[in-house]
Amino acid sequence: MDLSNFLMMRQELGLVAVFAVLLIYDIFGGETRAMRWFRPLAITLFAIHTLAGFICPMPEGEAFGGMYVNSQLTVLMKNLLNLGVLLVFMQAGEWLRQEGTAIREGEYYVITLATLLGMYLMVSAANFMLLYIGIEMASLPAACLAAYNKYREKSAEAGAKYILMSTLSSGVMMFGLSYLYGAMGTMYFTDMAPLVRFDYMTVLGFIFFFAGLAFKISLVPFHMWAPDVYEGAPTATTAYLSVVSKAAGCFALLLTLHHVFGAIGQVWYYMLWALTVLTIIIGNIFAIRQQDIKRFFAYSSISQAGYIMLGVLHGTETGLTAVIYYLLVYMFSNMAAFGVIASVENKTERTDIAAYNGLYKTNPRLALVMMLAVFSLAGIPPLGGFFSKFFIFASAAAEGDYLLVFIALVNTVISLYYYLRIVKAMFIDSPEAGIGVRLRTDGYNSVSLVLCTVGIIAVGLVSNVYGYINGVGF
């Protein structure tokens, strides 16, 4: 075997190194005083890994007989996932130090890194077997993360729902893959692409494959697991699932749709069109009536996935850039919101929206971050969310898809209504039902909130970011 292949996988190797160090530390340092240094070490090592991904030049090309492929694009996608995981690490610490989870603190970081490795493989896969292994590596440990609060029934229930739904979806996806294999006799993307044509077996296999992947990013007919899991899982895990896991799923969908199934574009274009419209509308309508803030953000993230699909639909270069840009802004906005939620939940154990009544009076800074986050999600200028929505609508409109853009625009207005409900609760409603105490947010979480706030504001205003993503291209 040619070991030089591994040089291509520098980011994966870096991640495995961080993973191994933390795992060994956790095994030998467990339950001793040395564990005090675990979290700083985990965050520092991972921050170095993230920075290295941005700074170090990465090789391009294929490895392992074309199974694994690395390009500027996949490196950028992995860097984005790294950024999300770094923010999750910063926000998770306070919750992990609580009584029920403190003894297993180290495991959380290790398991999260294991899922991240799976997502790397999803992004870099050039073979359906590797894609499948990546998806499973990303979703099996994620179920453990959802069930991490061992003493809470809701968390166990969320874990059970997540593992059953994700295995069902990967079973459906595998069934589709088996028919695609039967029709074409290969699993490699590059070999398959010229063989894809409009016949029953290919289309059937493709539909099953697509349904399985749509489960992962919770497009509408396949979204039912998302609100339950997001509500029951610990807040850090919810943030992880709604941001990083969804981003990886979107990338995998985008790459397979355009690199492999481009030839049957007329089949999936209308399918994805209908799902996009349904996802945006149903996500929005159900978000209006939610009383639990994590469930609320679950529906909000469902409708956001619909907006992302607007850019995936046409597969143009501008669409691709818009998708990556959208995910970057979405990552900062959602992580900011979940940072505030985690901060409130850790101290008061409350996740209902009423807990946020009068938050501005007691915790003005948290209220301000939350306001920026929901304004960015709703797409209010001059925050990043406005520009990301603008680019994604522009990319769809450039292809003449005016009806879809119109529906999406109307839904943006609807979404403004329910996002403003939170702002109203924080700034206008009387604070009686609220938490009524001044919270002391943990240091790392504060840093992550500052990073997110800077991200929300700067990504929109500093045009270099868009230029940088645009420069990477296909």
């Binding site: 292994i133 499973e136 453990c144 059970a160 079973g171 294999y181």
Partner: protein, 102 residues
């Protein structure tokens, strides 16, 4: 002579029985067994396509092998989570696991 179609009929029946079981069963373990049916039907599919249509390569068989390993891992995680559900809720009947429904 058993042709490819015979195998495919069996695997399709297994797949849809699995889907039906996933929806209709009321016990978490039975749901897990239904999922195993789905995964096994896929593995039959891969092996059969490999054997009858593309016997010169081993890709399909390898996919089946990986699928078996992954479904074993998945069962382990799922059962661990179910044990935890049982500890907290004292049963694994789906109708009673409804804390997150509303």
């Amino acid at each position: 002579m058993i042709s490819m179609e015979h195998y495919l009929v069996v695997s399709s029946i297994m797949f849809f029985v699995g889907i039906y079981g996933f929806i209709a069963r009321k016990n978490l373990l039975a749901v897990l067994i239904s999922i195993e049916l789905i995964l096994n039907s896929v593995e039959i599919n891969f092996s059969v396509f490999n054997r009858y249509l593309y016997p010169e390569h081993m890709e399909g068989v390898f996919f089946s092998l990986f699928g078996i390993a992954i479904s074993a891992a998945e069962t382990a995680v799922a059962i661990a989570i179910m044990i935890n559900v049982y500890r907290l809720a004292s049963n694994i009947d789906i109708r009673h696991i409804d804390k997150l429904k509303y």
